[in-house]
Symmetry: C2
Subunit: 473 residues, 2 copies
Amino acid sequence: MDEYSKVTPEIISALKNILPEKYVLHGDKEQLEPFSHDEISEKKYSHFPEVVVRPRTADEIAEIMKLANREKIPVTPRGGGTGLSGGAVPIHGGIVLFIDRMNSILEIDTENMVAVVEPGVITNDINTAAAEHGLWFAGYPMSFQSCFIGGNVSENAGGGKAVKYGVTGRYILGLEMVTPEGEIVKLGGKLVKNVTGYDLIKLLVGSEGTLGIFTKIIVKLLPMPGKVVDLLVSFKDTASAIRMVPVIMTRAKVIPAAVEYMDLLSVQTACEYLDEKLPYEGSGALLLIELDGNSETALEEEYEAIGELCMENGALDVFVADTRAKQEKIWNVRRNIAEAFKAVSPDQSAEDITVPIACIPDVMPVLDKLSEEFDIQVPCYGHAADGNLHVTLVRNPDQTIEQWEAVLPKALEKLYEATAKLGGVISGEHGIGHKRKQYLHYSLDETSIELMKRIKRAFDPNNILNPGKIFDL
Amino acid sequence: MDEYSKVTPEIISALKNILPEKYVLHGDKEQLEPFSHDEISEKKYSHFPEVVVRPRTADEIAEIMKLANREKIPVTPRGGGTGLSGGAVPIHGGIVLFIDRMNSILEIDTENMVAVVEPGVITNDINTAAAEHGLWFAGYPMSFQSCFIGGNVSENAGGGKAVKYGVTGRYILGLEMVTPEGEIVKLGGKLVKNVTGYDLIKLLVGSEGTLGIFTKIIVKLLPMPGKVVDLLVSFKDTASAIRMVPVIMTRAKVIPAAVEYMDLLSVQTACEYLDEKLPYEGSGALLLIELDGNSETALEEEYEAIGELCMENGALDVFVADTRAKQEKIWNVRRNIAEAFKAVSPDQSAEDITVPIACIPDVMPVLDKLSEEFDIQVPCYGHAADGNLHVTLVRNPDQTIEQWEAVLPKALEKLYEATAKLGGVISGEHGIGHKRKQYLHYSLDETSIELMKRIKRAFDPNNILNPGKIFDL
């Protein structure tokens, strides 16, 4: 374990020499509280920073990092705070580097089809600005209305459109970054192809703020598809639903924008929470399939082919949502599943295991067993065609917090162990952060973890940038 | 510069203890010659190995690496030998590790839509096997008929379909690899999403055989589109042609499978070489636009929209190739440009600079100036919508080899300097290897190169795996 220095009054003064005083927050517990946690509900993962700084430029960040590196003070970068792995929480105290003031969209370059943005831009704002030119950033996550693009890059976030469009990393063409030692580097550019040296951009994407602090991001944009159709298809059980996923892609030859899976418990709970009705009576599992494109004729051909294929393969019903209103009704249910379970019980562990898509049905008996053994609810929904499942462990309201806290680590271990046996990994989009680092060995062998640690040391010899995340050195 | 040991008779014996004798080649210069070069024509980049080994398993490779690491003998992995940067050439002698015997397609998993292959499989063989199931690997390079998939991963190779489908890296979901220290690691799996720890797979892709030796590769497959249409569009000059590229994508809202650019000199030379005719009379530049999909109606809507847009924006003519024969006629010309110039003069430098697509017209006066100043031919063609240009410097047959060898480094420096000024990089798909390492500083700042060197040392403390490539330590 590394030894860190405390943030002394001298350090505070030094920070105030780098930044205007009002952007150096310290001493007031209430003011620091929002920086002590992310969206994980469990208290045990929260930790207060000693000071929060709100820099505006890469040069300021470089100076802060040089100071912190020299003085051995941990620095934790923070974006929108919407994470679910504790990645932005300063578990060793020190400095939180909040990037909210670096929130300019510097350029929407339509000729090169890229956006050049600062890391504190809210992800949805990029799409609002790009939409004026018929363009969009297709790799955004579900939290796009509040997350920052800098956080998306750090976590390699991805959303419901990953089947066709991939996740954040596919769209990051260039980065300006401050290293843990306080150097500013520029990587890539407005360039679609680039093989000059190791792909540091791709390494930095998803490195959870442990290798550098992004200060400028070049995001690839795509032409926005003009038309969207959603299909809500009900099946008697998960196996029948999941078996359809490769069939859609190989037989109908269509790559949908989204193929979301919802189990009965998830959709029921969300419908009750919203007082909404969806046609799921008598079914055991639902697929929500979104198609997009520009040709109305082609979309019709596609959804008819998929609908027929589903019916031939045991679907109970196919509901076509071809208007904005019908689509929003379905997606609203999908988006509110997590909230709905929070209403049932605020104490829950939102997981995001990934397994080979053909193995999704094999996950279900595992969840039934967890539910039974630990007397908890285990709803499951998520991105079926990516094999990425939001298994959520929800405290039984009859359990005490102490019982729940004793149960949860055991349940997680069983979940992760079963996932590994199926060839899966413990996280598909939320990241490892603080919460999952003790379970990393379920997904990675010893040599791989050792190589990652060596990379961390190569970038950050004093281990001051977001220490204690992903692994301990 | 590192000091390496020689391959002694004791080392040969040790290798013969690891492998059957017949797979340890040494002593016979003729037998070793094919391993002394890749597809670069210049003699100065060739270098003989001391011994060539042809292992069959990851365990054998691990043993070889342990031996080499202990004895400080350089090891250069080699695939199909189709590279254009000297990456597979053993410039410090030592062992060439030829992976041709590791050539099994282990699995075409249609349920998970992946292929599991060994690194020595010829890339096209994956597509032949996948095609039986209506699937394909869409990230393949132009040399797919002779290159190995292991080499594609090492170089992050990409081809003419990168606009829509991206390059090799997008499709690599899992790797088994032997580290320079002889450990076997397994990364990823049959998994589309995965954020467990640093993305080592993406770092290894394009690392030019300097960080590890791949022994098993999991390749994502896509449903194969059923229909293809090509448009050959002529323009008066490059600027008019290139201006169309973002217009096609943003106004017609179509992402073509390919948008290839050919200047008049390239297409003329290739047509003469093949004794072929294409409708380019009176034009100065051509775009070859490929669309693919499944709906005939949608494809027709798309190509008509693009054709009209082109004509509105100054195109001289649009030729629609909607049959296999017409398409092959055009692509045959495109594919034979390099060969055609080899017939003009075998001495040439095949470059692959990448610039922001909107800057492609600005490259043209640079090439004219190079041509004039150095009295050489500089044809230009390539992947327009990726900004990836095959600028080729061709020796004037009137120049002596000595004159050419004096001229080339100067011309390359001017080309790379101009590329950097336009925000571009020196390689979009061929890699740095041996040939371009002295020019790396045109694309990367000092800190970035230092970070890359630290990564290299983290993986390969003794610098024995493909040393002297990308940079010198």
